[in-house]
């Protein structure tokens, strides 16, 4: 079974702060994704990647950067955090990019921006 881990699990920062969320998957999946989950909006795709060094823009990318350093590691960067970015963030991975490929999610990172 796919294993996706995220760190930290909880994070508090102030407006204008710099935050990095980390994700690692250990099943050699090619695709990795960052989502945010908010009540009334469900899961919304921020960025995704199909391999080391690749980055694709998702549906809600404003205010976020991402970097895929290796096949295993995908980072989400908030360089000037704002209260609107308070959310529950999930990382996911899938073997391929076909729409029928199962996405495996990590346990989430809860971010509070004061």
């Amino acid at each position: 079974e796919a294993a996706v881990t995220q760190s930290p699990r909880n994070k508090v920062t102030v407006t204008g702060g710099n935050v990095t969320l980390s994700c690692r998957q250990t099943n050699s999946h090619n695709y990795m994704y960052w989502y945010r989950q908010d009540t009334g909006h469900g899961l919304r795709l921020i960025h995704y990647s199909y391999g080391a060094g690749n980055l694709q823009i998702g549906d809600v990318p404003d205010g976020y950067k991402a970097t895929r350093t290796t096949q295993e590691d995908f980072f989400l960067l908030l360089e000037l955090a704002s209260p609107s970015q308070t959310s529950l963030y999930f990382c996911a991975s899938s073997e391929g990019g076909a729409n029928q490929d199962t996405q495996y999610f990590g346990p989430g990172t809860r971010l509070l921006v004061l």
Binding site: V4, G40, G42, L43, R44, N99, G108
Partner: protein
């Protein structure tokens, strides 16, 4: 604009009853419709999925129905158990496009 709409937002059912969740979508090119189940404190996990060439798929107590003409899908959980208490997301996609998720339905099953 929400391309995949899900209802209700939450519901409570008695143990042993049938839970029915519904979703509707806009894009007629969508051809893959998974349902993800999320327990508190965890990430979502794939529960069941259906392709647009089918109108029904069953997996144990879980059945998903697809109506292409009406652009609707539903998830039925029969003999609902307290362990089924979770948030359920429908999603849709087509080709190489990423999944688009609905807003989620939180289900509580009361003993």
């Amino acid at each position: 604009q929400q391309q995949v709409r899900q209802s209700p937002q939450s519901l409570t059912v008695w143990e042993g009853g049938t839970t029915v969740l519904t979703c509707s979508y806009e894009d007629s090119t969508f051809n893959y419709f998974p349902w993800y189940q999320q327990f508190p404190g965890e990430g979502p996990a794939l529960l069941i999925s259906i392709l647009s060439v089918s109108d029904k798929k069953e997996d144990g107590r879980f059945t998903t129905f697809f109506n292409k003409r009406e652009k609707k899908l539903s998830l039925h959980i029969i003999d609902s158990q307290p362990g089924d208490s979770a948030t359920y997301f429908c999603a849709a996609s087509q080709g190489g496009r990423a999944l688009i998720f609905g807003t989620g339905t939180t289900v509580s099953v009361s003993p």
